[in-house]
């Protein structure tokens, strides 16, 4: 058991525990914080896979942007409903059953798949600098999806604006 493995297990444990905390904590703000934590831990995983760029983006976009958004929304609406929501979950048992069934199915098929087995057998070295290749391929081969994605983002921004905009009532200037 080397240091890498220990680090991996610690990270994994943190990820799982924080995820559980996300879905179970009664206060949404706390959930949001735990979500941020789990996203951050994922970024560490990325680094361990040698995807530094991705990890950076994860931290910047996710942990920075998304969580901020969520927190804002929670704060905006907290006064309205939070107190009414005594019970934060509904139908825990079927949800638990369904999600665990899903989990075990995934585990079963990955375990039995010979392809995964062969992949697991040939674990390559994780140490290589990919950021350059990544940027190159992103702007050459994947440029069309990239641009489409930018369009999508634009649409999302506009859409979010339109949706969240308060309708101006008559007589209101």
């Amino acid at each position: 058991m080397n240091g890498e493995t220990i680090a991996f297990w610690v990270l994994s444990l943190g990820l799982v525990v924080s995820s559980i905390a996300v879905v179970f904590s009664k206060r949404l703000l706390r959930s949001a914080i735990f979500l941020a934590l789990s996203l951050l831990l994922t970024a560490f995983f990325y680094i361990s896979f040698g995807a530094e760029l991705l990890a950076g983006i994860q931290i910047l976009l996710y942990t920075g942007g998304v969580i901020t958004l969520i927190v804002f929304v929670i704060l905006l609406t907290e006064g309205i409903e939070m107190k009414k929501l005594e019970e934060t979950h509904r139908g825990i048992v079927p949800a638990l059953l369904a999600s665990s069934l899903f989990f075990f199915m995934l585990v079963y098929y990955t375990w039995t798949s010979p392809k995964v087995r062969s992949l697991a057998a040939s674990t390559p070295s994780s140490k290589f600098n990919v950021s350059k290749f990544l940027s190159e391929s992103l702007f050459q081969e994947w440029v069309l999806p990239f641009e489409v994605l930018s369009l999508l983002l634009l649409a999302a921004i506009v859409g979010a604006l339109v949706l969240a905009r308060r309708e101006r009532k008559e007589g209101e200037t």
């Binding site: 879905v23 760029l53 996710y62 958004l69 949706l163």
Partner: protein, 99 residues
């Protein structure tokens, strides 16, 4: 760092997110569950890319993150709209799709 174990951790996170989506009553809670699921999926993508030694996994994960951001933005906007129009933030009270 076993390939299997990384997969299974991701699956576990995914299932936890799924559980959140299925059981959370607050809409923001549901959105957070979705985030967890996305995150787990990204993790698997990167892991498989890593196992193959190709960059595609990372690229797709990159796109996925961007899409997630868009989704969260729209989703939260919708949440605000629902909260304003329907005066509720509970997922189980929004039942417009009932036939």
């Amino acid at each position: 760092m076993n390939f299997y174990s990384i997969l299974w951790v991701a699956f576990l996170v995914f299932s936890i997110g799924l559980f959140g989506v299925l059981s959370r009553r607050h809409l923001v809670g549901v959105i957070m569950g979705i985030e967890l699921m996305f995150n787990a999926a990204n993790l698997v993508l990167v892991a498989i890319g890593w196992a193959y030694g190709v960059l595609t996994g990372q690229i797709i994960a990159l796109f996925a993150i961007a899409i997630t951001v868009a989704e969260v933005a729209v989703g939260l906007a919708l949440f605000l709209l629902i909260e304003r129009v329907r005066k509720t933030v509970q997922a189980d009270e929004v039942s417009l799709m009932k036939g």
